[in-house]
Symmetry: C2
Subunit: 267 residues, 2 copies
Amino acid sequence: MMKVSKVLHVHPRAESLRIREKLIKHYRLGVVALAGLIAHGRGEAFDYLIGEKTMKSTFKAIKAAASAMLQAKYPVISVNGNTAALVANDLVKLAEVTNAKIEVNLFYRSLERELAIKRILEAAGAREVLGVGEAASAQIPEVCSERRRVDPQGILRADVVLVPLEDGDRTQALRKMGKIVIAIDLNPLSRTAQYASITIIDNVIRALPALVREAEKMRNEETEKLREILSEFNNREVLANAIKHINLRLSELAQKGFHIFEDNETS
Amino acid sequence: MMKVSKVLHVHPRAESLRIREKLIKHYRLGVVALAGLIAHGRGEAFDYLIGEKTMKSTFKAIKAAASAMLQAKYPVISVNGNTAALVANDLVKLAEVTNAKIEVNLFYRSLERELAIKRILEAAGAREVLGVGEAASAQIPEVCSERRRVDPQGILRADVVLVPLEDGDRTQALRKMGKIVIAIDLNPLSRTAQYASITIIDNVIRALPALVREAEKMRNEETEKLREILSEFNNREVLANAIKHINLRLSELAQKGFHIFEDNETS
């Protein structure tokens, strides 16, 4: 088997390969689920379509998300295998800046995985990790996967929940419970994206650090100002912009792509 | 861990979950690589965008592909872990109908995986499987992954090569060697899709059975007729159509998606 490092210097999409290797490593460490690798691939495709950089309209969502978390009485960050593998440090920083709790919440739950994720978060500086083992003793209604299990000291009582890389079921259920749900999802058409209160359509690799920066900038703002940012935010606009953006990119890429053939026509 | 079968009846995209489970099973059997799971996820995203059914323009590519394989002097079907896991029976049928050789060709090559894939193909009825172990003694130029290794009795001397789920490097290299390359790739913008002679933009799950049916229908056609089909085929048109199709679907899905909010406005 050839080391990916050997092909990186020649590969046109080296960064994307590095992230892939990181997830594969964390699969072997018991942090990432096999289905998490497939989910990552879906994200890669959408990231490719949006151009692998944060869209302008996404910055609006990030600002609204920071403001929602800073205003929250009890904000909670939900963490799964992929996010722990990719952005553990930023998750912990965000929890500090916004005074949020961190809770492990998995589709494929096993105590080993929960503990592996907890270890990574603690190594990144987390002092408390909710939702591990017996602690996830509560259930949220109408969710049929293991994602229904939540910590009474975490997601259950939260008013604002950040759910990076979420499934649609739970986003809907959390909204029905009256919570503000902030999703990070690269697919603007997914149920998660559509049902969240605030949808950050971006790669977690870029979105989490941006969210930390924004929260740091805004942490001393007055509540009035924070409220204003949130009330002016329009998630439908963000979703619509992302789709327009992809449509435009596809047309551009198509034109660019077809230039390959101009000097070297093939049949 | 919850069995996927339990959520299938309630999940809006059950078929997609079944395929995922099949690939995960074949990862555990040593057939599919971890990177193959991520690659499958990318395919899922594009399949979702094209609407999870074969596009009209794709049928033209399938017809051209069948005609190219039936006309070929030495057609070869290149098989990797994902295709062996998902469509082994159809690969073997296609080889029979078009009188093609079957060769294992992997990005992450190991004798164990090659043998595991060979076993699956043999169980599906293959009498000969090229490219396993020492048999892959030749190299194709300008490919830096393990995919450069080919069988002198297979891809090296082929005039037509079917490469389902390919990487861009090798497609380019095979084209430069003067071969007709038929790719099956869900991403119309990938290098593979762009460099192939004939690009079938479809899920292998649907494309392979369709290709078998088409080859069966055409196997008794006169060479003149087969040549005509191929010479009239325009791959640029197929690629352009796929992108237009996705653009249209995105706009439609966006409109449909946003209807969710009509009765139940959220902020």
